[in-house]
Every structure is written in structure tokens, then in C-alpha cells.
């Protein structure tokens, strides 16, 4: 199986490629990262103009009906260019949760703001003790009239400093580690009682520690159903992050190959040394397999096959290890240059490292892949 893109998908791909090629080269990215805010509203606007923020949403939700394959196409190109703007957080994660778990009124209230670029969103689920367990939630929510009131703390919330709104997981019943009893809430980032401590991430983006003290939140999805909703959300995010990783892997391979053909040492190009040739072949193989697995996952996300969640973990793990191998080798084969902040190679390394932590590292997902098989 090799995905034959439709005309619409080809158009999407070529338009994203053109936009990023023209406006998002490595120096442009460096300026965006160094800016005070840390992402570019101009670029976000350009994404909206191109329909990217609408692409994955269903027609009934006001989108272009492109689904997971549109996400894959967009995120693959974003990965190639190390785009920092919060597409995964806003469109895939929050947008996906609103589309799949929200009432028609909530979809009407929230999705247009995402599509028209006016609202940035992120998901706050990790806590100090949670590691990668979606169900380990100590932040509590109690009912107060038609709203809920949240108290607790979330950690390492990516894109929180950029967000207008958050989806926050909090416990409405049960013990700290129970699978049932977690609920999801829409929270205004500027709500009373919500405090952010912002900092920079390893891959040049922004995140925050969040403390919540009696913060007003609107329930989204059924009370107590949060973990199942988050698992489906994680599967979709994994589809996006895997595509991004594959884009990065491809760029690293191309850069390394190019470097090996030009860099001279000991009187010849380093690409003529067999040891390095075999290394680059292994990088080539890793890319091919990661690309194939990315397509396989995205097709499954579209079809919503059973066993999808297990496949998502498998892909996150396998592509994660592939990305790590390629990143390590790309730095090594670039020699001292690979260690500089000036060259793009190190930045791809750091983005791949970041992807390999979000929603669980490769070791976590290998185990989950094994456990889901045993349970079946």
C-alpha cells in the first residue's frame, strides 16, 4: 500500500510546501524562536489563509473534511521546516477533542475560532506524578451550578503561554489513579485563579507550569469519560507527531548525505568511507520504514480500525526509535558542525527528542503495544 494522493491532497501538499519554502527557511525560523512571543502570528494567519486550520475538521464541523490524511500531509511538511506554531495543540488535540466529544453547541462555539485563527488552544493533562499515564490525575473538579470549579496543578503544558483556551483534565470522582472519574474541561487561560509560570522548551517552543485555584471550567464530553476521550485524542496526536518526525528524518538524511559528499577529510570526501556509507544506508532504511508506518497509521486513523490505539503506540515507538537513530547519526556524521547551534541539524535533533517525550517515550509505547496485544 502506497498512498495515492487525490488532487485535493496534492494541492494541499504543494501549497504548504510552497508557503514554507518561501517563508519558513531556517533563518526565518530562528527569528521566530528568538522573538518575545516565540511563535509567529503572521505565519498563523498564513496557515489560516491557506485553509490549513480548517483542513482536518469534518464538513459538518465547518472544516474541509480532510481528516487524518490532511493532518499527515501538513505535519510532514511542518516537520521538514521545524515549524513551531501550535497546529498540533490547537487543531489536532483541542480541535479534535471538541469535534469528537463536544456538543453541537460547543462545536459551534469553539471550532470557528480555531479555523479563523483567532483562538489558540492547548491540552493540559500531565501532572508532576503522572509521567505518561493519562489516568493519573490529582487535579480535582467539583460541580458548582452549571459550571465546574478546578483546583490542582498541571505541568509541562506545551504552548500554554500562547493559548487563549485550554482543555484541562481533572478528576470528578474516584481515586487518583482510577481510569474512570476523569473529566475534561474548557478553561479560559485568563480565568481567575489560573497561574502560569512560562519557560522555554528543549525544541525552541514555550510551555508552562499551571496552577489552578478554584478555576471555572466548562465540561466537555461526558463526566467521568475523560480517559477514553484522551486516549482517542492521543491516537490522533500521535498520527500528527509521527508525520512531523518523518519529515524531520527525511531532512536530516538529505542534509547528511549532502554534507558527506562535500566535506573533505584525509584527502577525500567523507562519503567515500564505507563505515559512513553503511551508516547512511541504515538511516535511509529507517526513513523508508518510518514513512511507510506513518502512512499505514494515518490510513488507520481515517478508517478507525479496531486495534488503532495499539497501532498508534507501535508507530510512536518504532518511528520514535528511528528518529532518535537518525538524529544521533546526523549529528555524529556532521562532526563538530553538528554540535553547533548555528547549523539546523541540532535543532532537528532537539525536535525529535521533544516528540519522543510527548504522550509517552518509545519505551512506554513499546510496552503499551505489548500489553494491548496480551489483552486482546
Amino acid at each position: 500500500m502506497d498512498i495515492q494522493f487525490t488532487e485535493e491532497q496534492e494541492l494541499l501538499r504543494s501549497s504548504v510546501q510552497r508557503l514554507l519554502r518561501d517563508q519558513y527557511d531556517f533563518e526565518a525560523r530562528r527569528k521566530i524562536v528568538a522573538s518575545e512571543e516565540g511563535f509567529s502570528r503572521t505565519q498563523w494567519d498564513a496557515f489560516a489563509e491557506l485553509g490549513l486550520l480548517a483542513a482536518p475538521f469534518s464538513d459538518s464541523a465547518g472544516g474541509l473534511g480532510g481528516g487524518p490524511l490532511a493532518t499527515m500531509i501538513i505535519m510532514h511538511e511542518f516537520g521538514r521546516h521545524l515549524v513551531v506554531e501550535p497546529f498540533v495543540e490547537t487543531v489536532v488535540l483541542a480541535g479534535g477533542l471538541i469535534e469528537h466529544a463536544g456538543t453541537p453547541e460547543q462545536q459551534q462555539a469553539f471550532i470557528p475560532g480555531i479555523i479563523d485563527r483567532s483562538k489558540i488552544w492547548t491540552l493540559a493533562w500531565t501532572e508532576k506524578e503522572s509521567r505518561f499515564d493519562l489516568a493519573k490525575v490529582t487535579t480535582r473538579a467539583r460541580r458548582e451550578g452549571s459550571d465546574y470549579v478546578l483546583t490542582g496543578a498541571k505541568t509541562m503544558v506545551i504552548a500554554a503561554p500562547w493559548a487563549d483556551d485550554l482543555i484541562v483534565s481533572a478528576r470528578t470522582s474516584g481515586d487518583d489513579r482510577d481510569r474512570g472519574g476523569v473529566s475534561l474541561f474548557v478553561v479560559d487561560r485568563r480565568a481567575a485563579g489560573l497561574d502560569l509560570q512560562s519557560f522555554k522548551t528543549i525544541d525552541g517552543r514555550r510551555a508552562a507550569e499551571i496552577s489552578l485555584r478554584e478555576v471555572r471550567g466548562q465540561l466537555i464530553g461526558r463526566e467521568g469519560d475523560g480517559v477514553a476521550l484522551l486516549e482517542a485524542g492521543r491516537d490522533r496526536a500521535i498520527g500528527a507527531l509521527c508525520a512531523e518526525a518523518v519529515g524531520a528524518i527525511g531532512e536530516l538524511n538529505a542534509a547528511t548525505l549532502d554534507y558527506s559528499k562535500t566535506r573533505k577529510q584525509f584527502g577525500t570526501t567523507i562519503g567515500s568511507f564505507q563505515v559512513l556509507q553503511h551508516r547512511m544506508v541504515d538511516m535511509f532504511i529507517a526513513h523508508q520504514e518510518a514513512l511507510s508506518l506513518m502512512q499505514h497509521l494515518s490510513l488507520n486513523l481515517s478508517a478507525r480500525d479496531p486495534g488503532l490505539s495499539r497501532l498508534a503506540s507501535g508507530a510512536k515507538s518504532k518511528i520514535g526509535y528511528a528518529g532518535k537513530f537518525v538524529a544521533d547519526q546526523a549529528v555524529q556524521l556532521h562532526g563538530g558542525m553538528g554540535m553547533t547551534d548555528e547549523l539546523n541539524v541540532g535543532h532537528y535533533f532537539k525536535r525529535i527528542s521533544s516528540i519522543n517525550i510527548q504522550f509517552g517515550d518509545p519505551a512506554f509505547h513499546v510496552l503499551r503495544y505489548a500489553q494491548l496485544d496480551a489483552a486482546a
Partner: protein
């Protein structure tokens, strides 16, 4: 009037040049000699006119290395170490010392102790990741044990006048790979906190999330990528053993 050596050129990857008062430089003093034979070992005052230091920021964000530009720098001939054109011999001696010390047993042992503490603090015993980390740590501890035993055997041999020669490259290869493994495990052990990294220059005023013991994990993990590259890359070190020890 004392004789003067005029130095022109460009040194790179110069560690901590921004803080240095002196630089010891290998300079070419006989362009007509064979490459290794025309080099001298010269001490240069960093405050000499014509010396310019330019920072090279590395992927961990720190300013550790530099470019040093030398333009018509006047150096008194007294600053020559040893004989003119014998510099490569002196440099090889220094490199030989560096290679055995790169086993880094002491540092790796210290970092493993810290890693164990981090795992105990971060990963509850009933998380399957806990046992996985214990196993991974045990593996790297055995790597350290084997390298340490080898180093002690070589030290004993040296005391009897037996020099390991080019086989000492194995200390650099294994020592660096071990430390890279340890920094990687440490970064993984802090889980989500591995998404953060300290900004440079480091300031107590800037907020860094998570427990103190994890604050340097990201930058150490990134910085350690240099170990398999510098000091003679691990690929070169393997070539040395292949040629000079195995005769291939």
C-alpha cells in the same frame, strides 16, 4: 632585541577561550617540511593585539567553545615550548595522556549514583518503567565495571613498563559511549521534565520547572553528543585500533 614570531591563522573549537589568559597553540613554523615535522608549540598571551575570540554556541545553548582569530600576533621567541618544529611530538604526548583519561570512570560512577536517585524519586516501583530503568542502569554499570577493570589492568602493566600504545583508544571509545548512555538515561528518567532546558547564561531569576535534580539533564544529554565526535572521533579511534593494533 628579542626575536619575535608573527602568528597568523584561525583556531576553532577552542574550549573556554573567552576566559583564558593564555593559549597554547600549535603553529606551522616550517611550511616546507613534512606536515607533522614543521609544527611548533607556542604560548600566546590572549591579550596580545591581533587575538580575537568569537563564541560558538553549541546545541545545549552554552558558550563553551570558540573561534580564535590570530592576525599578525607578535609572540616573543621565549614563548616557544621546547625546540622549534618539534611541536607535534609534544602534542602527541599530551594526546596520549588524554586518551586514557577519557575512560572517565570517576565521572560515570558519580553520574550513575545520581541517576539511581532520580529513578527512585521519579518512577514508582509499581510502574513497569521502574524495572526497565533498573535493568538499563545495571547494563551500563557493568560497562563501567568492565572498562574500569581494563583500565586497572593497563595501569598495572604501565607500572611494569608495558605501554598499551594505540589500544588505549578503546578507553576513549567506551568511556564516551558509556557517558552518552548515562546522560541519555538520565534525560529519559525525568520524563516530561525532559521537555525543558535551562537557558544560557544560567540565571537564578529564570524559572526552571520540576525538581532540582533534573534541571541540568537536558543540556547534559545534548552536550554529551560531542563526546563521540571530539578528541578524535570514535570512528577514527576504531581506525587506529584496526590499523595499529590489529594490523588491518
Amino acid at each position: 632585541m628579542t626575536a619575535t614570531i608573527i602568528v597568523n591563522g584561525h583556531k576553532t573549537w577552542t574550549t573556554l577561550a573567552q576566559h583564558a589568559d593564555w593559549i597554547f597553540c600549535l603553529v606551522r613554523t616550517d611550511p616546507n617540511a613534512k606536515p607533522q615535522s614543521g609544527i611548533s608549540f607556542l604560548l600566546i598571551d590572549m591579550k596580545s593585539p591581533g587575538v580575537t575570540v568569537r563564541p560558538i554556541i553549541t546545541i545545549d545553548g552554552s558558550h563553551e567553545v570558540n573561534d580564535v582569530f590570530l592576525e599578525n600576533v607578535r609572540v616573543p621567541v621565549e614563548n616557544l615550548v621546547g625546540e622549534e618544529n618539534k611541536g607535534w611530538t609534544y602534542a602527541k604526548f599530551l594526546l596520549g595522556n588524554e586518551r586514557t583519561s577519557m575512560a572517565g570512570i570517576g565521572r560515570s560512577t558519580r553520574y550513575i549514583q545520581k541517576l539511581k536517585q532520580i529513578v527512585e524519586a521519579e518512577i514508582p516501583a509499581d510502574d513497569p518503567a521502574h524495572l526497565e530503568f533498573l535493568r538499563d542502569i545495571a547494563r551500563v554499570e557493568l560497562d563501567v565495571l568492565a572498562l574500569e577493570a581494563t583500565e586497572l589492568r593497563v595501569v598495572a602493566q604501565l607500572a611494569r613498563g608495558i605501554d598499551p600504545g594505540p589500544a588505549a583508544s578503546l578507553f576513549k571509545i567506551r568511556g564516551t559511549e558509556i557517558f552518552q548512555d548515562i546522560t541519555e538515561l538520565t534525560h529519559r528518567a525525568i520524563g516530561n521534565y525532559g521537555l525543558a532546558i535551562r537557558e544560557h547564561p544560567v540565571s537564578a531569576n529564570r524559572f526552571m520547572p520540576g525538581p532540582d535534580y533534573g534541571h541540568t539533564a537536558s543540556e547534559k544529554y545534548l552536550n554529551a553528543r560531542k563526546l563521540s565526535i571530539y578528541g578524535g572521533s570514535n570512528e577514527i579511534q576504531r581506525n587506529i585500533i584496526a590499523k595499529a593494533v590489529l594490523g588491518l
